[in-house]
Symmetry: C2
Subunit: 393 residues, 2 copies
């Protein structure tokens, strides 16, 4: 029987510190104050930048990453050696053009690539936080990013953009700091996490917590990790990132490296082999406790709830230009959720355009080569740069 989560090679989970990109360390005078009422101090943000800030500091673009993303939006991942997760979209001459724009991509609070998260050392105990880490929210992530912009001396972003949980951060940016976001592009996202999405996250969390190697979150102390549980969580989540049609087209009932069914529990079907691979490789690069915390932050996201249940109130009076993008086959963050945001923005008298892109690739379409997404991002950023009078660096 193939084991889904035996690491193929031993490697410490944490990348060497020198590979994490830039690091902002804020001391006790600048704690990150959380929605839970707790504080994180000292507080560290690991981030990457691309391109050059212009003299007016007006060409900065913030890229917000999704659940399993990180700061390596357009550079080789230090642990996997793979290209950046949005390498297709960010770089010289690409839609998010680093010849013209200064791109900032921070790892979120609660993450596991250098920003303060549950795998980091709790100064109060000298041991990894584990479940002693306070719960964080999407708003906490945005608050941490605002502190990073402060330190970089950037008052207003030309644009904040991101897909999935990245899109949630973009929406929160527009609500929390409307004057700091000239334009915003939330992609394949929602202003609240649905019951079905909470349900899938809960399955993933229970899979992790059911793994005895999780050890109530203290696995680092025992020099182990809940690999099997995290692999199962990733497998379940990965199905939701694709569409039924894409799975049928890509895999159908094709067999994996065999001529006939094995009449056993090996990965007979290509889809099984593919999913097991997704689970295994995720374990090599992601921290299980971070997965718990970040899924919880998404579950808690309900932007309207902070504004008396009226989503339009989150955007009242904002001058931010919005472009919303959804994909026809995305069943995790369907067009209907994106339309809900568009309606709220219209009700608030906002400046909003909305693009639904025809694609059968499901939620993950935003990470893939989608010509209409290329054109939409390029066109929107060009118009924003023109509107804001952005000069070349």
């Amino acid at each position: 029987m193939t084991d889904i989560a035996q690491p193929r090679f031993q490697r410490p989970l944490k990348a060497p510190a020198e590979n994490l990109g830039h690091v902002l360390r804020l001391g006790p005078e600048r704690p990150l104050i959380l929605d839970s009422g707790k504080q994180l101090t000292p507080f560290t943000t690991a981030y990457m930048t691309y391109g050059t800030l212009n003299a007016e500091r007006s060409n900065a673009i913030l890229v917000c990453h999704a659940l399993s993303g990180d700061q390596f939006v357009a550079s080789t991942h230090p642990m996997t050696g793979k290209p950046g997760w949005w390498d297709l979209y960010v770089g010289p001459g690409k839609p998010i053009d680093t010849d013209r724009f200064f791109v900032i991509c921070p790892n979120v609070v609660g993450g596991c690539m250098g920003t303060t998260g549950p795998a980091e050392i709790d100064p109060a105990t000298g041991e990894p936080y584990g479940l002693g880490f306070p719960l964080v929210t999407i708003r906490d992530m945005v608050r941490a990013q605002a502190m990073l912009l402060d330190s970089l001396g950037i008052d207003q972003l030309l644009c904040a953009l991101g897909g999935s949980m990245g899109g949630m951060q973009v929406l929160q940016w527009a609500a929390s700091f409307p004057n700091r976001v000239y334009s915003a592009m939330p992609i394949a996202t929602a202003a609240r996490h649905s019951a079905q999405n909470i349900a899938f996250h809960e399955v993933g969390r229970q899979a992790i917590m059911a793994d005895p190697e999780w050890r109530a979150g203290d696995y680092a102390l025992a020099d182990t990790k809940p690999s099997k549980g995290l692999a199962v969580a990733r497998m379940a989540a990965h199905i939701t990132y694709l569409s039924e049609a894409a799975l049928q087209r890509k895999f159908g009932r094709e067999l994996h490296q065999r001529e006939a069914l094995s009449f056993g529990f090996d990965a007979d079907f290509q889809i099984e082999s593919y999913l097991r691979h997704q689970g295994m490789t995720f374990v090599d690069r992601f921290d299980a406790n971070s997965y718990l915390y970040i899924t919880r932050a998404m579950d808690y996201f309900d932007l309207a709830a902070d504004y008396g249940g009226v989503l339009a109130e989150a955007f009242r009076g904002a001058k931010t230009r919005f472009c919303l993008v959804s994909f026809t086959s995305d069943w995790l963050f369907p067009t209907s959720e994106n339309k809900r945001i568009a309606h709220a923005l219209n009700a608030a008298g906002g400046n909003v355009s909305f693009v639904e892109i025809e694609s059968d690739r499901g939620h993950d379409a935003f990470l893939l080569e989608e010509p209409e997404l290329f054109d939409t991002i390029r066109g929107f950023l060009n118009a924003a740069a023109l509107g804001k009078g952005v000069t070349r660096p």
Copy 2:
């Protein structure tokens, strides 16, 4: 932290033999010959019957159960104390009217309610089969049911009907034994398992196998069971049985027994509490190895593959009357898969009607009170009884 799969009370998994209903034991002279080439002998089928067989033996209806179902279609479950899983539909004066019809519901081969399955004793070793149990297919389930009908002296069923995996068995009945099925009603099913459905099953199997208490299938020998893994498997599957709309309507983002978010990993949301309950209660009544075997049987199901890839050939020349039923919000076995069967039956010159029922309750709609399903079953069975000239018992 609430633990999802701590059994709330200790109870042996296996129900007392006297509570399993009728039992057919076939000795070495009548082994069940499997698609894998292996045999099961002795072979036992546990089944329930309702109503009375008429003098002509022409009023028999076979109800085929789904993945987690059993023979207790219309009687109290001996372990949970709950009503039969299709109690709404089967009984005196109900759509499947036991005043008129003789209803047979057997537990499938590979199951865990008395029919030979992985939890039963392997006569070759004197210990539970565990993973030594041979893989079974939907066709094996049907072959076992045909042997039961032989023993009951029933040549032809008035109707074979069932939903989900039950519908797969109904389709296989019509293909394997066309002369023994006067009419057939496959509900919310497909003639092949899709890549997405195989993917969800694989997640469930990996969750079970990742549980150290699974012990490579030999948990019974250690007097334990992989409760946490099986609970996670059930939670993931349960999401697929519902619809996004039903989850939103039923649970939305409502909190569970609290006024505010806990900023922790307790079941803050009602949907979480509901899912955990589904996982926990399933573990009390279902065997983990059976779950592996039965999901595998569904994955392997591809009726056309046995007929040169042409589904119509499976039904060529059959005189069986068909009524296919699907539900609009069923994304596990969507209408498109049911239409594919209807097209094949039309191409084969079959007698087929097709009903798509408007419902937002997802796949599980077939188990619930759906007035249009009541009317459809009642009408179809009445017409079949009239056509076959069935007398009252």
